[in-house]
């Protein structure tokens, strides 16, 4: 044993091992071991130690990688929005116009048709999630990103959108226009 800075360390002593990794005998005269006769079977102890080490390293790697993978998954954001929201006031919207309102953390679109009726639906285009707008010249809903068209019920009528926009219920209470998420049937 050697002492370094108050600590004792064993010297690096070379381990003389008479077999190489493939189990061939490497014993030579300087090791003082006689070369055994006949073929030598691979040493199982080396394989055992290797398996033990390998398992240990694998377990460590998993133990450290698992928290990292879990960490990468963002926690679920709390949906602050309730099921009902005041989307606007009657005075805000002239016939044949639309406005975007906040529904929780997502945009919704409120449309007043040319006949004065109110319609509300999700404003997130079902194609690639752009926010749609009301086109008074076309008198329906349009998405600028890839020229998607929806009718006033939110049905996809032209362009790439694959599905209709999610429609909401509208209730007019006095001056206020309330929008409510439709409960799943």
């Amino acid at each position: 044993m050697k002492t370094v800075g108050g600590l004792s360390f064993a010297r690096f002593t070379p381990v003389v091992y008479p077999y190489d990794l493939e189990g061939r005998c490497m014993a030579t005269t300087h090791t003082g071991m006689a070369k055994p006769e006949g073929p030598v079977t691979p040493v199982p102890r080396r394989k055992f130690v290797q398996a033990l080490l390998g398992t240990g390293f694998m377990a460590t790697a998993i133990a450290f990688l698992y928290p990292v993978l879990r960490y990468l998954i963002p926690p679920k954001a709390l949906d602050m929005g309730s099921d009902s929201v005041v989307a606007g006031r009657i005075a805000d919207l002239k016939p044949n116009s639309g406005k975007i309102f906040r529904f929780g953390s997502h945009p919704g679109i409120l449309v007043r048709t040319a006949s004065g009726e109110f319609r509300a639906m999700s404003a997130t285009c079902t194609h690639l999630s752009c926010t749609v707008q009301y086109r008074d010249d076309l008198q329906h809903i349009w998405c600028a990103c890839h020229n998607g068209h929806y009718d006033l019920n939110g049905k996809n009528i032209a362009g790439p959108p694959p599905r209709p926009l999610q429609a909401f219920d509208v209730q007019v209470r006095g001056e206020e226009i309330h929008v409510r998420r439709r409960t799943e049937a």
Binding site: K2, V4, F9, R11, F12, F57, T60, A63, F64, P67, V68, R70, Y71, L72, I73, P74, P75
Partner: protein
């Protein structure tokens, strides 16, 4: 041919990989009773890599800014799965890295590994040590808690005391007259962009120099080997030394994981510039010896402001420390003993002042 061997020969056929790797195959590490000290630089490098990886992970959720920083760290520690663990590992690894960097510096000093032709290795290593302290100082502010706020206030104020350049430097560091959200934005930039860039470049140069110049043999061992040439030993860098180094890294990882899991790092209270500094406030342990020294110097020494004297002295010592290799003689039998004496004194001073500072009121 095994698939790995196939890929290897494909690359070799194009880039002459074997020739590139030849120096690594030939590289050897001297083998003697002090070989263990050669591991410290590698462990520091390993901890630096941990810092980069966990730092990137923290960047996924951290938001700089006086109104968001504390909340985002709180979010990491309470909402994100294993966020507390990632942050704890980052903090613990930072502290361990500073410790191993200091230990590496002193081991190089005592083994006299800085002698010709390794002056530039020493110089890059010392600059890296300063950068590591810069990492510590800038990273400490990022959670924007009370302790960090006042530590930064005091630390930058000390910079401001330096004659002539101090004041502009302080304003540069703070991003204004006071420590505010602007300071946080700056420190964030230093911590995640400027310092990592510089450190990576210097580490590459440092490693290249180590690779090019080989591993130094301490003069004492060299003398023993000269006297008895048969006692000279070495081992191959790859795989013999590398496997031992990997073992050291494995142990370091174990220590780090245990510390982070058993003693998770505190977040503290959100910084408020209009609240008095808490009693017993102290900087991190690696600045404590300087902090304690400044506290002990009288306010006036021979007509000069004590604080300024202290700061200038530390600056001068740090500068002279950089130049140590240039005071040394190359010949192993004629190295200067006083350098070892100074190193021993510095080590005792730093250790003593740190302990004193830790227990002082």
């Amino acid at each position: 041919m095994a698939p790995l061997e196939k890929i290897r020969s494909w690359i070799d056929g194009r880039f002459n990989l074997n020739e590139l790797l030849a120096p690594f195959k030939k590289k050897t590490v001297p083998r003697h009773r002090l070989t263990y000290w050669y591991f410290l630089g590698g462990i520091t490098l390993f901890l630096f890599v941990i810092q980069v990886l966990t730092g990137i992970l923290l960047l996924l959720y951290y938001r700089p800014g006086a109104n968001e920083a504390f909340e985002s760290v709180q979010y990491i520690m309470t909402q994100v799965q294993f966020g507390w663990l990632i942050r704890s590992i980052h903090s613990w690894s930072a502290n361990l890295m500073i410790f191993t960097a200091f230990a590496h510096m002193f081991s190089v000093l005592f083994l006299k590994a800085y002698r010709k032709p390794r002056e530039l290795t020493w110089l890059t290593g010392m600059i890296l040590l300063f950068l590591v302290l810069g990492f510590g100082f800038s990273g400490y502010l990022l959670p924007w808690n009370t302790l960090a706020f006042f530590a930064t206030k005091v630390g930058t104020e000390i910079t401001g005391q330096v004659p002539i350049v101090g004041k502009p430097l302080m304003i540069f560091l703070r991003g204004g007259e006071d420590v505010t959200g602007a300071t946080l934005t700056r420190f964030f930039g230093f911590h995640v962009a400027v310092l990592p860039g510089l450190a990576t470049l210097l580490i590459l140069i440092h490693l290249l120099l180590v690779q090019r110049l080989g591993i130094s043999v301490p003069p004492k061992i060299q003398a023993e080997w000269l006297a008895r040439p048969t006692s000279q030993r070495e081992m191959k860098f790859f795989p013999n030394f590398m496997l031992r180094e990997l073992m050291a890294w494995y142990v370091a990882l174990g220590v780090l994981g245990a510390l982070a899991a058993i003693l998770p790092w505190d977040l503290g209270v959100k910084a408020d510039p209009f609240v008095p500094a808490p009693a017993g406030i102290k900087p991190e342990w690696y600045f404590l010896f300087m902090f304690q020294t400044l506290k002990l110097i009288p306010s006036k020494v021979a007509g000069i402001d004590g604080e300024i004297l202290g700061i200038l002295s530390f600056g001068l010592v740090a500068f002279l420390w950089l130049l140590i290799p240039f005071f040394e003689r190359e010949h192993p039998a004629r190295t200067r003993q006083w350098i070892a004496g100074v190193a021993l004194f510095a080590l005792a001073y730093i250790a003593g002042m740190t302990i004193y500072g830790h227990f002082a009121q």
